[in-house]
Symmetry: C2
Subunit: 373 residues, 2 copies
């Protein structure tokens, strides 16, 4: 890592940096006093609820596991390079690591869109299982190796909302002409329904909603949507998140850096990412409902459900769009096939297990109340 | 640890052991060549699918994280002490660690039944979130401290089945007189419905089904039920697992051993358990459907769903049973209140998110098929 850094001139770094970087970020040697210092940029702001806090958890866990021998310095979006140039910087070695959503890198490796999550596809728990037991890790490693990176699943946000809309969405026809922020495969599907898809990083969504650049926008779910102020749009808030039943975040590490780690350090990255993945999902699950209640009760947000008819049209459009994208790229095809095979096992099981029990507990009966005090 | 072991005579250990223990297990010093050696007994057989493999994953992860400095030797049920005496052995320091289901310890600390999971309660993901963000970890630590142990969530098995029944279950009345293996709070509920509850460790369930000691038995879900041969009963296989929507496994560590660990070692146990928890759930999710298909297609297992009417009766019985148990024990009351508060947030969110999207993807439409070859 030290050698690699020698190629970076101060001028080159200054050009990419935004001025937010503390002066101490640059002169620090990457290895000093037997401490390995790695620099990670996220595609979201520092300390962003769920996402930035997930990155913090990852870094803190690796610091504790290594007894301080591996220190990860976190930079928010734009602090070293613009958000969507994070992968370029890690690929080139300007940064050691990144923390983002896989579909941001579809321009470099199309299969990352499938890795991020498929419309009408896997839930968070199923996506986590696919990574470990369904071949997902190996396929994602193959995709990220094309960008000179090692891949980790680093945070499921859980089922998302279907997004914010300036008008009611009564049928599939309402997508025609809709200018919507919706990255990933969901965006490809609504484009097939006639929408104009505009992708923006988190920090630019709110202003684009306010300025009229967008008619609709999807970000994540109430916990983070509240944090970036999407409820201030006055728009309708739709569910369910057909486009992202269980989307994932990635953590990627420059392959030269990865290969320089000991087996024990590699275990720290693997295990800390597995813990971070659960931590992020847990954080969203614990906070989404209160955030949604605040939106509805204090900010008069109108909650709406997409009709079954609209959902069925979106599913049928998804089929054509996903088949076409998969058939255009061999690695996308292999990733999609792997997901489809896992989905064919996961869906019938969900209907017996998680989905069936969630419907059972939602039946009409009186249940216990917490005691007073 | 060395001092503690000095109190153990060979005779005392020999009395508890079953003869399965390798000779090397006893003379090994607990710290040798700077390696900390810890002994863990599980309440299930070694390498048991999902459960024993989860224990193996935990031990292997800690070994890798510590670069071999912390070695956990695993013993299956009965290898050191009988399965249900595992906690006594860890509490006394005969063993360092255990791996089990919390409700096995209800005779020592009643609140462990609530910690294990509540009928009509939390799913695996929600239970994991409750532990971290809903106060569950702190309450479980308090409960296990009464048994001289530190608590870890170490494996969600996911929504269970409702169990195996020698007759069809058409109404709540069919529970009257039923001799059923069903531990935990679910067992308390069916007892209120008139069942006779008989608890047995995994290895004794199959023989009791075959001998006519039992009329019904719940173990976990198809992946492990197939492994212990429950399908050979010829009984009906019912879902959904109202009694255990997201039950958990524990890993507990003698508090003297826990307190002797460095902060970095403690981080290894915390992080490895978080990873093991996800690993176990992932393993069940990846394997349950194929196991169920094998049962149905190759062994003619008859799959049945409990009626909504039966489920509503069970929910209403649950209310009274759980309220009574909680009101009889202050810590149980606090645990149950904490779960109920989390549930009141989790259920409406599930209806917007995971449950809604699982129902959306189960709508009637044609979706992609994996490509040939």
């Amino acid at each position: 890592m030290v050698n690699r850094r020698r190629f970076l001139s101060g001028a080159a770094l200054g050009g990419a940096a935004t001025g937010f970087v503390a002066a101490t970020a640059f002169p620090t040697p990457s290895i000093a006093q037997n401490v390995k210092r790695l620099r990670m940029q996220t595609t979201w702001p520092r300390n962003f609820p769920g996402l930035g806090t997930g990155a913090n958890f990852l870094a803190e866990t690796i610091r504790r596991l290594s007894d301080g021998a591996v220190e990860i310095e976190i930079f928010g979006a734009g602090e070293i390079v613009p958000a969507f140039e994070t992968m370029d910087a890690v690929e080139a070695g300007t940064l050691d690591m990144g923390h983002s959503a896989p579909y941001y890198w579809k321009g470099k490796v199309p299969a990352t869109e499938f890795i991020a999550g498929v419309p009408f596809g896997l839930t968070a728990s199923e996506a986590t299982s696919w990574m470990k037991f369904g071949g997902g890790q190996e396929l994602a490693d193959e995709a990220y190796a094309q960008m000179n990176c090692k891949f980790f699943l680093s945070g499921c946000t859980g089922t998302q909302m279907a997004g914010w809309y300036s008008k009611e969405m009564n049928s599939i026809d309402d997508y025609r002409g809709l200018r919507m922020r919706l990255p990933g495969l969901g965006g490809e599907v609504i484009a097939a329904a006639g929408a104009a898809v505009i992708n923006l990083p988190a920090g630019e969504i709110g202003p684009a909603m306010a300025s009229g650049t967008l008619d609709a926008a999807d970000w994540i779910s109430p916990y983070n949507d509240l944090a970036i102020g999407m409820h201030r749009s006055g728009w309708f808030y739709y569910y369910p998140g057909w486009q992202e039943p269980g989307p994932i975040m990635d953590n990627f590490i420059n392959l030269d850096v990865w290969n320089s780690l000991t087996d024990s350090e590699k275990a720290m990255f693997e295990t800390a990412n597995a813990a971070a993945n659960a931590h992020v999902y847990s954080e969203f699950l614990a906070n989404n409902n209160a955030a949604l209640a605040e939106m509805v009760n204090e900010h008069d947000v109108q909650l709406r459900r997409l009709s079954d008819d609209t959902l069925i049209h979106l599913a049928e459009l998804s089929r054509g769009v996903l088949d076409d994208l998969a058939n255009a790229d061999p690695l996308s095809r292999r990733v999609y096939d792997s997901i489809l095979k896992f989905r064919a096992q996961a869906m019938p099981w969900a209907n017996i297990a998680e989905s069936a029990v969630m419907q059972a507990r939602a039946l009409d009966y009186q249940f216990s109340e917490p005691s007073e005090g």
